[in-house]
């Protein structure tokens, strides 16, 4: 037997907290150059927000918030973004993962900054996708047994 928590405390605090957790996750992903954090930590925090919703909301609501097919696409898309940007640099004559050769506006450091931001979002999407995937898998195992 597994289902959403019936506790009103859990629901009220969870609904209060989820937007802030999501915002903090995106902040950690986008702020990864300057401080502790980055795609991995931020992706896990975004996944925590989704898992809180899975824990407190009824199943139809939580699957509308984050469809169960989405984690796979996030994993594939995030990994594809990372590898794609890295290999795309070769197309403009640089080395693999040499972001300065990409045709983005600005000087070298600005181009590296923009493309590292994209790569961080790719890593974050892949990590959050895999975390939610693992949670859904475990929950479905428990539900079916």
């Amino acid at each position: 037997m597994i289902g959403p928590h019936s506790s009103p405390n859990m629901r009220v605090i969870g609904i209060l907290v989820v937007p802030f957790v999501l915002m903090f996750g995106v902040y950690v992903i986008a702020h990864g150059h300057y401080g502790p954090g980055g795609g991995f930590a931020g992706g896990v925090i975004v996944a925590v927000a989704v898992i809180i919703v899975r824990m407190i909301a009824p199943r139809n609501l939580s699957e509308r918030f984050f469809p169960p097919g989405l984690p796979l696409w996030l994993m594939v898309g995030g990994m594809g973004l990372f590898v794609g940007i890295g290999v795309l640099a070769v197309a403009w004559g640089g080395d693999v993962l040499d972001y300065a050769s990409l045709p983005l506006p600005g000087d070298d450091s600005r181009r590296r900054y923009l493309s590292i931001l994209l790569v961080e979002f790719g890593v974050g999407a892949a990590v959050s996708g895999s975390m939610v995937f693992i949670f859904d898998l475990l929950a479905s195992l428990e539900r079916d047994s």
């Binding site: 928590h5 506790s7 405390n9 859990m10 605090i13 969870g14 209060l16 907290v17 802030f20 824990m55």
Partner: protein, 102 residues
């Protein structure tokens, strides 16, 4: 000067509560009493430490973040413990009674 003493007293008291929480986790006999030790002692200890840090730092760029961390920890820590204990009780984990083996 006096402000620094107040901040130091608050931080030391908070660390003391955190230590009591750890002692509770190590020494209490079963799941429920251990989670109860973590919830109460750690919430109060964390609030005291953050209060002391706020007083010590006065108004800086980082103090708003400190206040936010304290508020969310105050909301989430008891809720998480509540959820854990509730699930354990629903799943039929029996509370410890006097005389049971630990």
């Amino acid at each position: 000067m006096i402000v620094d003493i107040i901040a130091g007293v608050l931080i030391v008291a908070g660390v003391g509560f955190l230590g009591i929480g750890v002692l509770g986790v190590l020494r209490f006999p079963d799941y429920y009493s251990r989670t109860h030790a973590v919830a109460k002692a750690e919430t109060l200890g964390m609030l005291l430490v953050f209060g002391g840090l706020l007083i010590h730092l006065r108004l800086q760029a980082g103090t708003a973040q400190l206040v936010l961390i304290a508020v969310f920890a105050f909301l989430v820590n008891p809720t998480a413990t509540h959820a854990l204990a509730r699930v354990a009780l629903r799943r039929g984990l029996a509370p410890w009674k006097r005389g049971d083996p630990t």
